[in-house]
C-alpha cells in the first residue's frame, strides 16, 4: 500500500459513515415521531392527571374541610402534590375563609425554583407569579354532603414533567438510536467486512502481490459469493487479457525493436516547442558518431549535420506537415558523415500530440540510411536510360512472365508495351524454330545462364524479325535466378545481305535461275529422294541453237535479254517440282524428278523444245533460236554420281546437236562412249568456250 493509498479514504469507513448516517437519519425521524406522539400523549396524560387529582382531592379534602382539619387536608394536598409532582395545588376553603373574615382561606403547595415545595400564600406575588407560569391547570369545587360549596381546589401542572418526560423520551430515543446505530453499524461493519470487504481485501492483497508493472503474480482468489466472485472473475479475465496484451505488446515491442535494429533504423523524438530531442544510437551511427559524441543533443544537432539545401527543403515539408497539408513528414536528406562525406537518410515522422491550440508538440520519426539505395537508384537510372534508349529490344521476364519491354522492342516487333507485358513469354516463341532448338536454348540457359543466337522474333503483323538474341539469367546475391533479360538485336539487314550473297552464290545473275552450285545441291538431293522413293529422275542438259548469231547480230545486251525471256519460258513450261538451272552461256540443266519412265519425260521435253523455239521479241526485232536437249535418267544399273549423271546428259545433248539440233536425245552408254572420248569433260572451262 502506497502513502497515497493510505491517504485515500477507506471505502469501509465511507460505507460505515454513510450507513451510520442513514441509520441515524431513519431513527432520528422515528425519534421525532415518537417525541411528537409522546408529547401529545403526555399532555393528554397531564390533563387526565389534573382531572384525577382534582377529583381525588375534592373527594378527600371535603371531610377534612368540613371538620376544619386544615392541616389534614393540607397534608393531603402535600401528599398529592408530592406523589403526582404537580406544580402547585391551591385550596380555597370557604368555611375557613369565613372564620378569618375572607372569602377563602387559601392554602396549598407550590414548587419553588429549587424544586422544593413551599406553602402557598396568596399574598406572596412571587408565588402567584409561579402559578402564572403553570403549563396546565384545573379547578373544581369542593362540595359538602348537602351539595353546598365548601371551597375549591386547583391543580397546576408545570411543563417540567413534560420536559422531563420528553427529555426521558429523548434520552431513551437517543440511547435507542445510539445503541441501534452502534449495533447495526457494528453488525453492518462485520457483515460488510466478512462478506464484502474481506473478499475485496483478499483480492486487493492478491493484487498487491504484483510484478514491476503492477500485474498480479497469481490469479485473484475466487470468493464464495456471486457478486464478488463475478468481480474477481472479471478482473482475472481482464488480467489475463492484460497479460496477453502485455505479452503481445512485448512481442510487438520486440518486433518493433527488432525491426528498428534489423532495419538499422535511427529513431528520433522531438519536442517541437522546446527543441528537446531524443535519438537512438543508430541515429548517430548513421552519421558515424556515437550518441555520447553528439551529446548534448537537440534539434540543432540535426540542423548542424543536415545539408543546407536539404535542411531548407526539410523545413518546408515540416511546415506543410504542421499545417496539416501533409499527413506525414517525409524527406530524403543528406547528412554530413563524421568522415566528411555525405550520407543519404530518409527522414520520416509524424506529429503525434498537439497543444490545445493545435500547435505541434511531440513528433516522432525515423532515419534510414538510404545511401546505397540512392546509389542503386543512380545506377538504375543509368540502366533505365540504357533500357529506354537502347536500339536493341530488351525484355525482362521472370518465371515465364514478361515483366517489361523497352521502346526499341516495340519498334522492332510492332508490339505495344501493353500487348506483351504480363503475358507469357511463350508468345514470343517462333514456329520457325524447332522444339529441339528451344530445348537446346533452355538447356543452355539452365546450365550456363546465358544463351545467344539468331532468332526469328515474331512480330505483331505476323512476320518474324531476324534477330540476334541474347538471353541472360540475372541472379541475386544468393545465386538464385531472379529474372531474365533478353536482348534482341535486329539483324534483318545482315540477313538481307546474307540472302543476297546466297543468291549471288547459288543463282544466275542474269536469269535468276539456280547456278551450277545450287544445281549440284539439288541434283544430289533429288538423286537421294529418287533412290529413297524408288522413283526416276531425269536430268536434261539443254543448249540453245543459234544463240551466238543473236549475240553477234543484236549485241550481248539483246542476247542477255533473250536468255532472260527463254529462262522465264522454261520455268513456266516445267512442273512445280522441276528445277531449271543455267550453267553459263546458253547452257541450261533441267531436273525432272518423280517420273516413272522415259515416256513421262517426253511431253516436258517437247514443251521445252516448242517454247524455246518460239520467236522472241527483242526491242523491235524478233529473234529465233532453238534448243538441243540431252537426257540422262537415274537411277541406273550401276552406281552413278551427280557429276557423272550430268556428264551423261551433256553427252546426250551433244548427240542431239549432232543429229540436227532442236531435238532431244537420251543417254545411251554404248552410243556415248565414242563421243565422250572425242569431247572434253563437261565441267571443264573449255566446254563454255566451245558453246560460244
Amino acid at each position: 500500500m502506497t502513502p497515497d493509498d493510505r491517504k485515500s479514504p477507506s471505502l469501509l469507513v465511507k460505507a460505515m459513515v454513510v450507513m451510520t448516517a442513514v441509520i441515524l437519519l431513519v431513527f432520528s425521524f422515528h425519534a421525532v415521531y415518537v417525541y411528537s406522539s409522546q408529547r401529545a400523549e403526555i399532555i393528554q396524560g397531564m390533563n387526565r392527571d389534573i382531572r384525577e387529582s382534582l377529583e381525588r382531592l375534592s373527594k378527600n379534602i371535603e371531610p377534612f374541610m368540613a371538620a376544619y382539619s386544615i392541616n389534614e387536608y393540607e397534608k393531603l394536598v402535600a401528599t398529592e402534590v408530592a406523589l403526582n409532582e404537580h406544580f402547585a395545588v391551591v385550596v380555597r376553603d370557604a368555611e375557613m375563609g369565613e372564620i378569618i373574615g375572607e372569602p377563602y382561606y387559601v392554602s396549598g403547595q407550590v414548587r419553588g425554583a429549587n424544586g422544593n415545595y413551599i406553602p402557598y400564600r396568596k399574598d406572596n406575588p412571587l408565588l402567584n407569579e409561579r402559578l402564572d407560569q403553570a403549563f396546565l391547570s384545573g379547578t373544581t369545587a369542593i362540595t359538602g354532603p348537602a351539595g353546598e360549596e365548601l371551597g375549591q381546589v386547583s391543580v397546576y401542572v408545570s411543563d417540567d414533567p413534560l420536559v422531563r418526560k420528553l427529555h426521558a423520551v429523548l434520552l431513551e430515543e437517543a440511547l435507542t438510536v445510539l445503541i441501534l446505530t452502534v449495533t447495526l453499524s457494528l453488525l453492518l461493519a462485520v457483515v460488510l467486512r466478512r462478506y464484502f470487504f474481506g473478499p475485496l481485501q483478499r483480492i486487493s492483497a492478491s493484487m498487491r502481490n504484483c510484478d514491476a508493472d503492477g500485474i498480479p503474480l497469481a490469479p485473484l482468489p475466487n470468493p464464495r459469493y456471486r457478486e464478488v466472485r463475478v468481480l474477481s472473475r472479471t478482473i482475472n479475465s481482464m488480467l489475463e487479457s492484460i497479460k496477453t496484451a502485455k505479452e503481445h505488446r512485448k512481442v510487438e515491442r520486440r518486433r518493433l525493436e527488432n525491426a528498428i535494429t534489423g532495419t538499422r533504423t535511427g529513431t528520433w523524438e522531438w519536442n517541437v516547442s522546446t527543441g528537446e530531442t531524443v535519438f537512438n544510437e543508430r541515429w548517430a551511427e548513421i552519421v558515424g558518431y556515437t550518441l555520447e559524441e553528439l551529446a548534448p543533443v537537440s534539434i540543432d544537432t540535426w540542423a548542424s549535420l543536415a545539408h543546407p539545401e536539404d535542411l531548407k527543403r526539410s523545413g518546408e515539408l515540416l511546415d506543410r506537415h504542421f499545417r496539416g497539408e501533409l499527413p506525414y513528414y517525409e524527406c530524403e536528406a543528406r547528412m554530413r558523415h563524421k568522415r566528411g562525406h555525405w550520407v543519404w537518410v530518409l527522414d520520416r515522422g509524424c506529429v503525434m500530440t498537439r497543444t490545445e491550440d493545435g500547435q505541434p508538440l511531440m513528433m516522432y520519426g525515423t532515419h534510414q540510411d538510404i545511401t546505397d539505395r540512392k546509389e542503386a537508384e543512380k545506377k538504375l537510372s543509368m540502366a533505365a536510360g540504357v533500357f529506354r534508349y537502347a536500339r536493341e529490344g530488351i525484355i525482362t521476364s521472370a518465371e515465364g512472365e514478361i515483366l517489361d519491354v523497352n521502346a526499341a522492342f516495340s519498334r522492332l516487333t510492332g508490339y505495344a508495351h501493353s500487348d506483351v507485358v504480363h503475358q507469357d513469354y511463350s508468345i514470343l516463341y517462333s514456329d520457325r524454330h524447332s522444339e529441339l532448338f528451344v530445348t537446346s536454348m533452355l538447356k543452355s540457359l539452365d546450365e550456363e545462364g546465358v544463351w545467344s543466337g539468331e532468332y526469328w522474333m515474331p512480330c505483331r503483323n505476323g512476320s518474324a524479325l531476324p534477330s540476334l538474341m541474347t538471353i541472360a539469367a540475372v541472379r541475386n546475391s544468393a545465386g538464385e535466378v531472379e529474372h531474365y533479360v533478353t536482348l534482341v538485336a535486329d539483324i534483318s539487314n545482315l540477313k538481307q545481305n546474307e540472302d543476297k550473297l546466297r543468291l549471288i552464290a547459288h543463282y544466275d545473275n542474269l536469269t535468276g535461275l539456280p547456278n551450277r552450285i545450287l544445281l549440284m545441291e539439288r541434283l544430289r538431293h533429288a538423286m537421294s529422294v529418287a533412290r529413297r522413293r524408288n522413283e526416276l529422275l531425269a536430268v536434261v542438259f539443254l543448249d540453245l541453237d543459234g544463240f551466238k548469231e543473236i549475240n553477234d547480230t543484236y549485241g550481248h545486251a539483246a542476247g542477255d535479254e533473250l536468255l532472260t525471256i527463254l529462262a522465264d519460258r522454261m520455268d513456266r513450261a516445267l512442273r512445280e517440282c522441276d528445277t531449271v538451272a543455267r550453267l553459263g552461256g546458253d547452257e541450261f540443266v533441267v531436273l525432272l524428278p518423280d517420273i516413272s519412265g522415259k515416256g513421262d519425260c517426253t511431253p516436258v521435253l517437247d514443251r521445252l523444245l516448242a517454247t524455246l523455239s518460239a520467236p522472241a521479241r527483242l526491242g523491235e526485232s524478233e529473234a529465233h533460236v532453238s534448243a538441243s536437249l540431252g537426257v540422262a535418267l537415274y537411277p541406273q544399273g550401276a552406281t552413278v554420281k551427280a557429276d557423272a549423271l550430268l556428264r551423261q546428259a551433256d553427252l546426250a545433248m551433244y548427240q542431239a546437236k549432232q543429229h540436227g539440233k532442236n531435238q532431244y536425245r537420251f543417254f545411251s552408254s554404248t552410243e556415248i562412249l565414242t563421243i565422250a572420248d572425242a569431247l572434253p569433260l563437261l565441267d571443264s572451262p573449255s566446254s563454255e568456250s566451245r558453246d560460244n
Partner: protein, 327 residues
C-alpha cells in the same frame, strides 16, 4: 428568688443598695407583662386536666402582669380556629396553645405565624415546630416509672409470669408513643410480657369497658391493666369486676383524678403517673414571657410526671395538690 434574697442579706452596704436596685428592677420585670395580652387556647376547660393547666396559666400570667384571655374550644376544631382568629384580631402578644390535636395545632401555628404572634405549645404537641417552645410532660419517664411500680407490685404478688394489657391513647400522638415505650421498657427489664395494646378512639366509658373485657377474655394470664388515661378508670374497674377478676388483675393509670389519692391509698389502684398541668401552665407563660423579653428559650421543655404509688403518696402529696390538682 428566695435564694437571691438570702444571698443579698449577707452582702455589704453598697452591695445591699445594688441588690435592692436589682430587687426593684426584678419587681418591675415581674410586672413587665401587665400591659400585654396573652391568649390561651385550651381544648376544653371543662376537663379537669385542662382546667388545672388553665389555672396555672392564669396564675403565672397574673404573676407576671399579663392579661390573659382563655378560649376553650370544647374540643371543636371550628371553635379553636375561630378563637385563634379572634386572638389574632385582638392582636394578642402571645398565644399559649394546648391544641385539640397536634394536627389542628398546625393551622393555629400557621395563622399565628402569619400574624406574627409567638406561640408556646403546652402538653399536646404540634405537627409543626414553628412555635417558640413546647412544654410537655416527660411521658417516657413517667410511664417507665409506672412500669417499675407495676412490676414491683406484680413481683410482690408473684404474678410476674402473668401478662399486662394496655389500653392506650392513640399511638399516633407523641405522648402516647412515649408512654407505651417507657412502660414496655420497664416491663421488659423485669421480664414481664405484654398481653397486647388497644387504642382508645372516642375515650368513652363503653370503649374502655369493652377493651377491658376483651383483654381479660383474650388473655387468661392477664394480671394487670394499664390505662394510659385517667378519666375512664371506673370503666376499667367495672370491666375487671364484671369479668370476675377483681383482686386478680391490678389497675394502674396515667394522669390523675382527685379520687386517685384515696384509691392509691386503699390499693384499688396500684399507682398513677401524675402530670403536673398547673406547673405546665405556669411554665408556658414563663417561657412566653422570656421570649417576649427577647430571651432564648429551649425549644422543648419537659415537665416530670410524678410516679405516685402507695409508697410515695404521702411524700408527694403537696406537689400533687398544687401542680397536679391545682389546689
Amino acid at each position: 428568688m428566695t435564694l437571691s434574697f438570702m444571698k443579698a442579706s449577707q452582702a455589704s452596704r453598697p452591695s445591699v443598695v445594688f441588690i435592692l436596685f436589682l430587687a426593684l428592677f426584678g419587681l418591675v420585670l415581674k410586672a413587665h407583662g401587665a400591659e400585654k395580652h396573652l391568649a390561651y387556647l385550651v381544648p376544653d376547660a371543662r376537663i379537669p386536666f385542662w382546667n388545672i393547666m388553665t389555672n396555672g396559666v392564669r396564675h403565672e400570667a397574673a404573676e407576671l402582669g399579663y392579661r390573659v384571655s382563655v378560649y376553650s374550644a370544647e374540643n371543636e376544631a371550628r371553635k379553636e380556629l375561630e378563637f385563634t382568629a379572634q386572638a389574632i384580631r385582638d392582636q394578642v402578644d402571645g398565644i399559649i396553645l394546648s391544641p385539640t390535636n397536634s394536627s389542628a395545632a398546625v393551622t393555629v401555628l400557621k395563622l399565628a405565624e402569619r400574624a406574627g404572634i409567638p406561640v408556646v405549645v403546652s402538653d399536646i404537641g404540634a405537627d409543626r415546630d414553628n412555635y417558640v417552645s413546647y412544654i410537655k410532660s416527660n411521658n417516657y419517664q413517667g410511664a417507665y416509672d409506672l412500669g417499675e411500680i407495676l412490676a414491683s407490685a406484680l413481683m410482690q404478688k408473684r404474678w410476674q409470669s402473668g401478662t399486662v394489657g394496655i389500653i392506650a391513647i392513640p399511638q399516633k400522638r407523641d405522648n402516647g408513643k412515649a408512654r407505651t415505650r417507657g412502660f414496655l421498657d420497664a416491663l421488659e427489664e423485669h421480664g414481664i410480657r405484654s398481653a397486647g395494646l388497644v387504642q382508645q378512639a372516642d375515650f368513652s366509658y363503653r370503649e374502655t369497658y369493652d377493651f377491658t373485657r376483651q383483654l381479660i377474655a383474650q388473655n387468661p394470664d392477664l394480671r394487670a391493666l394499664w390505662l394510659q388515661g385517667s378519666d375512664r378508670y371506673q370503666a376499667a374497674l367495672n370491666g375487671i369486676a364484671d369479668s370476675g377478676k377483681t383482686g386478680e388483675i391490678l389497675l394502674i393509670c396515667f394522669d390523675a383524678e382527685p379520687e386517685f389519692i384515696d384509691m392509691i391509698a386503699d390499693g384499688r389502684l396500684v399507682g398513677a403517673g401524675m402530670q403536673q398541668p398547673f406547673l405546665m401552665g405556669e411554665k408556658a407563660v414563663d417561657t412566653m414571657d422570656l421570649y417576649l423579653q427577647g430571651q432564648n428559650v429551649k425549644k422543648v421543655q419537659q415537665v416530670d410526671v410524678l410516679p405516685v404509688s402507695s409508697r410515695n403518696l404521702d411524700q408527694w402529696m403537696p406537689l400533687i395538690m398544687r401542680n397536679v390538682l391545682g389546689q
